[in-house]
Amino acid sequence: MSALDFEGLNVWFGEGRDRVNAVQGASFKVASGESFGLVGESGSGKSTILRALTGLAPHWSGKIRVMDRELDRGKGRDRAFYKSVQMVFQDPYASLHPRQSVDQVLSEVLYLHGFRDIEARIERLLDDVGLGSAFRFRYPHQLSGGQRQRVAIARALAPEPSILLLDEPTSALDVSVQAEILNLLCDLRAEHGLTFLMVSHDLVVVAHMCEHIVVMQQGRIVEEMSVSDMRAMRVTHPYSQSLLEASLGYRRAQL
């Protein structure tokens, strides 16, 4: 069974002359329990796919299936969708409400999903993401970047989703903190049997996290490969080739 199935997905912004085609004809499948990576440079449409899936980008055509259930294009997502698909945003400094404490953020989410045992669940969520209850009543400005991202992960885990969308979850963080967050995500995936769909411009991070990788360029998928192919540089498309080389660092020989 595939957790996510995209078939001929087009996503666009604006209408008429202003229309920008952000994603064109993207098709790929994410198997249940798998960790899947979308890589590409800015403007390649990789984040837009996540936004179309979650309903944040309203104009799309094609087919999206979540757990073999097809999404209805005309309607908004229902609560059952949000209970199974959740997202972690790129910038932990922008994804937390500046005037709400950790406690307020999590209780609001738990309330929205109709949980009764909010107190116990908040404690458990904070333990799950390695923060502990000492952080429960802090405001975002009292947290470091890594701690904020842990709160954002706790928020995404609150409805007990089976699919987690990760939009550059560590690109705003220091490398040492990145290691902690990536480890946490790996642990959570093993513990809760999550499916990951991860978007990143950092091929090394994607290689570490994902089993399957799709390379995107200007809204189109140029290549799909397994992580072992990528590590061995067994790629066919010239763009993926150049992206890989550029990612692996700066060589003075380029001069």
């Binding site: 440079e41 800015s42 490398v175 290691a179 480890n183 790996c186 090394v204 570490h208 550029a246």
Partner: protein, 285 residues
Amino acid sequence: MTDLLDVKDLWVRFPTRKGRFDAVRGVSFRLGRERLGIVGESGSGKSMTGRAILRLIRSPGQVEASHIRLDGENLLDKTEAEMRQVRGQRISMVMQDPKFSLNPVMSIGEQLTEAYRLHARGGRAEARRRAVEMLEAVAIRDPERVMRAYPHEMSGGMGQRIMIAMMLIPDPELLIADEPTSALDVSVRGQVLQIMDRLVQDRGMGLIFISHDLNLVAQFCDRVMIMYAGRVVETCEAHKLHEAQHPYTRGLLNSLPRFDAPQNRLEVLRRDPAWAAAPVKGPVA
């Protein structure tokens, strides 16, 4: 040979409600005509160090040092007016995000020629010729068109290259680049680095390259200073960064995921409070 830049015992201090906060604590280094990388995590004081050299720390922050010598002249003795001369003509700074550094309502050409005329008092035609030349120097293909364009019409990589062009017009002796490539895509990053690289080699300019990216600094710079909690914990040759001794540097390097081989878990940096107090290791630059 005198050093291009000689910083001794630099402190940057901020008063806070809970007492004084020292963002930079006793940093000393020397710089020749080379590429010096300053790496560290956010809050390590690396950006503050760069700004302090230009005396760009805003009040109530304070800069103190034994000396900050540029070609033997102590920058701390200069008046604010003299510092403005230094900032424009002798030391330039490139920031992370070009969007905030370019004036949105002036065309690129106007900004470039104005930058030139401020420093060289040359004629309009001369300024224009020089601006086009600079755009060519930073590998912009169609400089005439770019001269007429406005900053919002530029992509991130173009904007950053234009910033560099602007900073180079007065022909500075020292360029301080604060995370100049973090906002850029990898393919553009390579171009921007190449440009800076060539400038150091062709013009004999000194470069301070502030970054959080250890691998990049190891590949790009000649020498690296690693900062932690406002202090320099280690200085080493860039190509020997992977043999670094200090546990903090090692921890940072080990926490990076590897591309060549899969790992189950990444190593997590265990911070030792002693690092913040420990003296500098390795040859003092």
